[in-house]
Subunit: 564 residues, 2 copies
Amino acid sequence: MLTDIEISRQASLQPIESIATAFGILPHELSPYGRTKAKVDLAITNRIKDNKHGKLVIVTAVTPTPFGEGKTVTSIGLTQGLQAIGKKSCACIRQPSMGPVFGIKGGAAGGGLAQVVPMEDLNLHLTGDIHAVTSAHNLAAAAIDARLYHEQRLGSDAFREQSGLAPLDIDPDKILWRRVVDQNERSLRTITVGLGEVNGPVHQGGFDISAASELMAILALSRDLKDLRARIGRIVLAQNKQGDYISAEDLGVAGAMTAIMSQAISPTLMQTLSGAPCLIHAGPFANIAHGNSSIIADDIALRLADIVVTEGGFGSDMGFEKFCNIKTRQSGNAPDAAVLVVTVKALKSHDPQAGSEMDKLAAGYANLSWHINNVAKYGLPLVVSINRFAEDTQEELDWLKARVLQEGVFACEVCEAFSQGAEGAAALAEAVVRATEQPSQFRYLYETKQSIEAKLLTIAEAGYGASGISLSDKAKTQLAQLQRHGFDKLALCIAKTPMSVSHDPKLKGAPQGFELPIAELKLNAGAGFITALVGKVMTMPGLGIRPGYLNIDIDEQGEITGLA
Amino acid sequence: MLTDIEISRQASLQPIESIATAFGILPHELSPYGRTKAKVDLAITNRIKDNKHGKLVIVTAVTPTPFGEGKTVTSIGLTQGLQAIGKKSCACIRQPSMGPVFGIKGGAAGGGLAQVVPMEDLNLHLTGDIHAVTSAHNLAAAAIDARLYHEQRLGSDAFREQSGLAPLDIDPDKILWRRVVDQNERSLRTITVGLGEVNGPVHQGGFDISAASELMAILALSRDLKDLRARIGRIVLAQNKQGDYISAEDLGVAGAMTAIMSQAISPTLMQTLSGAPCLIHAGPFANIAHGNSSIIADDIALRLADIVVTEGGFGSDMGFEKFCNIKTRQSGNAPDAAVLVVTVKALKSHDPQAGSEMDKLAAGYANLSWHINNVAKYGLPLVVSINRFAEDTQEELDWLKARVLQEGVFACEVCEAFSQGAEGAAALAEAVVRATEQPSQFRYLYETKQSIEAKLLTIAEAGYGASGISLSDKAKTQLAQLQRHGFDKLALCIAKTPMSVSHDPKLKGAPQGFELPIAELKLNAGAGFITALVGKVMTMPGLGIRPGYLNIDIDEQGEITGLA
């Protein structure tokens, strides 16, 4: 079989204007960026606001493995399959970060015959939204340090006199806003800034990957530009020496940050290999952020399509949980059905010593069962999709499907979108259509009016199967502070390893009886949630021993090679 | 008068496709980015390679002041004026950095009735080229630190075995590649990286502004994608513990860096307020880099236009010197004439104690005279353009013009493009056309085959009027090293203050008898020059006490306000 980038390159793409027109986007609502991608102007929302509301399907997966389970392959394949059976479908997915693209994973545009194309456009820059997030984020960081520098250099009175601004008296040891870069950059996790002769107060800082920026979360959760502006103003950047919060509005930088992001607010339209529309917007990771694409893109797609397919990153304990408890709570767009992606290979990996191949599969089944039960808590009709790999035997697939159907899920189908495109996802598409026609009983796992501790406990126990939680001293101090400032009625966004449903990547299958260790609590007042860092979670990945960038180059024709 | 952004917004822009067609760019050679800007595909170069070669005009200026002399206003105004008198003209200018946009300067798109529009597109992101430079640059930085980390963690033998790669044995204290960000970020000038538990060897590092990246210089100097790839491969990133240079090719990261920049290699077409074409490409600063837009844009424009107007940043000691000695040497496109921009206000600022307004003007004239003589060294027909401000008196303008004409320049005209657009630049345009019809005697100031010291001495004495040079111990060591590695036959790129023709911003007018202190020498093997840091020059600006970002916001209609 050809590589993903070869398939992408050989595809005969339609002009993006044709994709848009067929989807119901008018020419003046489209801003082309090259020939194969275009931004959709938010002015469209007013024109289509009374259109019929389509069905929303959320795609999630079992606990991921390094092999890749093909959640995006399934989302794109399903979108193509729905189109093939006569439904107007659209995929709403995230923009890939260049960190993993050059780190380990290669591209993130689906794969095989279920891809968003051209895949190199999706994987590199796209229409610049991640760059806008990075720039706006780092402008605030520069503004904090510049303000510290000038206030310290001049003293409060002279500063006030010379600048005409009220001193903020920021505490350099209580800066809550780190910097970001769209790279895997281990060595920037913890740094000291302000060294040298005249470069301002020396203090500790560090970089997260841009996908972890609160601005990225905000981009995905905003309703429009006005909402974006208001949320950015609410971001808490630091504390002053009296312990009060200092917001982006206080620093006078919220307007400029919004200006930098004023184009990023528009989703980008691309196409799948079959010519189905795909809206790409925002890219928060699901382990260290909320892991879902934008509300704006969903809102547009739902007014134009019969069925919209979106996905939450990593397993159902990660992006799916946050889709339900964070994104849906803010959007009001309750999902109509869920698809849970599983592979034979992933299940076998939970207990590689279990004996025969069938024994391994049976042993690992506990993980799938855990995720089926997890999705059930949210009251959604569930279709399990077995993403078929070439090495899977018919016996394995038959056993797995039969086993799944004993769980009372709505349906279970084998999906072969990777090797067969739309046709390979037709059965899945049929099942998903039927699932969305069921009455939805969607419900949240917790209520935001609960206390922070109660919400954490609910997520830990009801969400993960933990026996309880423990808070570090740091987290306890932060919790008290959040309560004191009245920020305790927000949703919780758990940052933890995706490699286990617990906090410990070594706990495979469906672990029980563990205590969830809350290391840190971080306010995201603009995004409207509190991030809880659980265990040893890193908000900045590192490059591996043989990073993906080694394979990437341009060829004699100037085409990019080695992306996947 | 309206503000720049109000004028920009009220302008009735032509679709960028119409601008392209009128200019001779075919629809399939154009990649629109929105409705008002488009990338020009490099495939065009082959089609137009036998077209007649237009005339090239380089715009420079006297020593700058904080008021702004209006060099870009003049370049854009001249382009509009040339169009108005029936010439096919094109401006080739740099992409503004967001550092100054949010720092002190506001937008950099010309001003008044001589603007590139829409100015907010030019000033924010444009088509993402600076972001691409920043990303590619920082990928190399991440690659260096990741390699250090893994080699140190495993030891050479285990590293070789596990990665299949030859150890590079990079010396963490001899990393020559800093990081970049497109911000004014004083506090990142000097940092310590790699702190924390497992984040790799701790060492000192720092950030420059993206405009100072060698990749930005390379983007402006490359002939095509293949040349870009080769130059990136040659970049020297670090030294190993034996003192040998380690290149981007050695680290295996050159291909991925090129892939990140593969769209950035195409210039961006925009329009002036009068609908003249403008190619925007690359953005190296003229104080800390070579300060000129791209060779690729010039090459395309010269095959499509009668006259191409480009500019070198800051005064003629800065961008113009580098235009002649670096860019022209690499491009082979010798300029046909030069325009030197001066303002009454700028000249008066050199000696504010000189008495009457006319006395101040006469006292400051020495600076203009210096720049006239400086341009003369390169053998170019020179037109002095007095950029008229509202407060200039007719007496001042008459005196200045008469004084200039005594110097033997080709012509001197008052330019009123700011307040009157094309019409206000018609006389200047006529003069420039006649100047380009003179025989050109263009010559370089120095030959690259001279030794590094001889080249530095020539630039200092013949270029700046210094009495000699002094090298710091650091510079001496670096010089010996460059010679040892065979990198002594490159051009020199002087990084120094633009606020004086010397290294000392306090030395106004036409200083003499100063010694030029060379603090540091930095190899730019990919760009093909050695940067000499002179005096206390910063490769990263800082935000001021009342930064530009305070004024910037979006209004009720979602339009950006406060950009200029």
